[in-house]
């Protein structure tokens, strides 16, 4: 679950700076958004996993250097991610012996937070689906399997798998639309 607010997140960071074992709590809170940010810019699952791992390892190693200046922790992670992605593109360009890759990535870390947040929320919502729907979505989208392959593996008919896929996507759409938008929230307390 993401931290309830900036105060919780700040405490969590301070705890992890004291005790690195607490870092996994930050990881749990931010995995989906970092992955969403990275995956959109790499379009290859192996690369996306490599870079996501690199981002969190780097963050763990350098957590002591993180200073709270009011910006969310996610912004720091996005900056690390943007650097890692830029490195990867430069390396790819060198390996291909071309000055720049044909399709330079959208590398502005600040450009996409809202889109990224939306996708991160969607990824977390997949985890809340009933088990059979969740498995169909994971196999179809994350593992790239066809309806026929999924049907064989789950011992269901193709029609049944499509039904599960349909219900899952409808549920996700409803949940995404219902999910509160952080920016729509207005502080109520005057002491806030």
């Amino acid at each position: 679950m993401p931290p309830k607010d900036a105060h919780d997140e700040r405490l969590l960071i301070a705890a992890a700076q004291q005790d690195p074992a607490r870092f996994t709590e930050l990881y749990e809170a931010h995995f989906e958004r970092v992955y969403a940010f990275v995956a959109r810019r790499l379009r290859n699952r192996d690369d996306a996993e490599d870079v996501t791992a690199e981002v969190f390892r780097d963050a763990l190693a350098n957590l002591g250097k993180f200073e709270w200046r009011g910006a969310p922790f996610a912004a720091w992670l996005y900056r690390i991610a943007a650097n890692a992605i830029a490195d990867r593109w430069q390396r790819a360009a060198r390996e291909q012996a071309s000055p720049l890759p044909a399709d330079p990535p959208d590398d502005s870390a600040a450009a996409a937070p809202e889109e990224t947040e939306k996708r991160a929320r969607l990824f977390r919502l997949v985890g809340t689906l009933p088990a059979d729907q969740r498995r169909v979505i994971e196999m179809r989208f994350a593992e790239g399997k066809s309806i026929a392959e999924i049907a064989r593996e789950l011992r269901r008919s193709g029609g049944a798998v499509k039904q599960l896929q349909f219900r899952a996507i409808q549920a996700l759409r409803a949940a995404v639309e219902k999910a509160p938008r952080a920016k729509a929230k207005k502080p109520v307390s005057r002491h806030g």
Binding site: P20, F23, A39, T52, R57, L122, F123, I169, R173
Partner: protein, 496 residues
Amino acid sequence: MANHTQSEQLDKIVSALLGPPGAPVSRADAARQADMNLAPVFEVVRDLRDLPRPDFKPRLKSDLERRAKMASAVAKPVPETRVSATPYLSVRDASAAIEFYKKAFGATEVMRFAQPGGRVGHAEIDIGGARIFLADEFPEIDFRSPESLGGSPVRIHLDVPNVDESARRAIAAGAAVVRPVADQFYGDRSGQFRDPFGYTWVLSTRKEDVSAAEMQRRIDDMSRQRGSSAEESAAPPKVSFIREGFHTVTPYLIIPHAAEWIDFVKRAFGAEEHFRAKRPGAEDVIMHAEVKIGDSMLELADANPQFPATPSTLLLRVSDPDAVYARALDAGATVFDPVTDHDYGSRGGTVVDASGNRWHIFAPTPDSRIFGAFGAITPHLYARQPVELIHFIEAAFGGEEIYRAEMPGGGIPHAQVRIGDSIVALAGGHGPYEPMPSTLHLYVPDTDALYARALAAGAASIQPPTDQPYGDRSAGVTDPFGNRWFIATHTRDVAF
């Protein structure tokens, strides 16, 4: 099924979006293709293309947990203001002390700095993460050991994982029990032990966390109980059956020239005189005296017609046998055997004092398993039939044979029997080692029972159990080999 068409149409969108690369699908295309207004799900399907593989998140998590654990292990936060205290022990023989602490407390040697001349100028050991400094004593710079000063007022408190196990190990290595391991009101289980170099160690394991208020309550309870039991029964306070400062076995020397002998052991071995009772009207005659050498007490009296002289053989454990041997000769002893290395695990030599006692002055080699548990003084008996003597001690006093060396021809050059917390050494007596019948003083829980047991095992009575004015109930027997045994139970403390 009402949804059937819808699910087919949705899958067409999904297939199109997941479809072969290079087949771009626009939102309008997809909606048209589906021939139905499924536009609201289009974004969801598009975004799901980036869904992470389900096993990736937990896999990366365990990788990070492993790294975090390593980071914790290397980067223990050390506050800048932290102060640490390290005991610095002055000992008479630092090399022997290091070996002892290795055996007794599982210490590891961190470093050692030897001075010219062989003395250890500085050494560091580590006991379970605790650092301790030590060095040989340097009287010239007033760095003196407990052996020189007559004890140390500082106790070292060692927190250990299992105090009972640690205590057994320390005792086996030769530490003397000052206070046996017991549960304490403040939540620890602990005991006190004195090492052969004069330091007292508290071995302790925390059993429960007790608040200051709870400690106070327990202390109050304890003093209330003591108070009320004293009022109700007027019973004397419970005392140990072994008198303070004694062990189970104490050699009792009945010798000529007892007063001169006390001067000799003070000069030669640094003995402390604890008690002296002179015969009324004959100031130069000692009826009873007590001296202490290291952790061991010796009792003595001037021989008289009722108790003729029975000088004894004593094993004196020291850290530097050459030096103590030389001091003994300076103080008036004569050579019996010069100092040499013995292949059974010690270096030592033997002298005879002016009263006829034979002293084997020795140091066990560091890895000696035979002498490791010896205190400062161990009585040594010789008998023509040593095996029978061992059997007698077992039958009469509940002794336990803990070591026996046997010669090919059947002779016994050395054996050890444990009685209570003490060891009695013995050997076959022949040639220069004629049997020397000795007198030993035993502290036991029940004098009457042991007296009866000794008689049943073949001893002859000298004196049946009797309450003594000095607070002991005692009895005396002679064993079939001519040794005298005084059996006593300490029942009350009497001020002299």
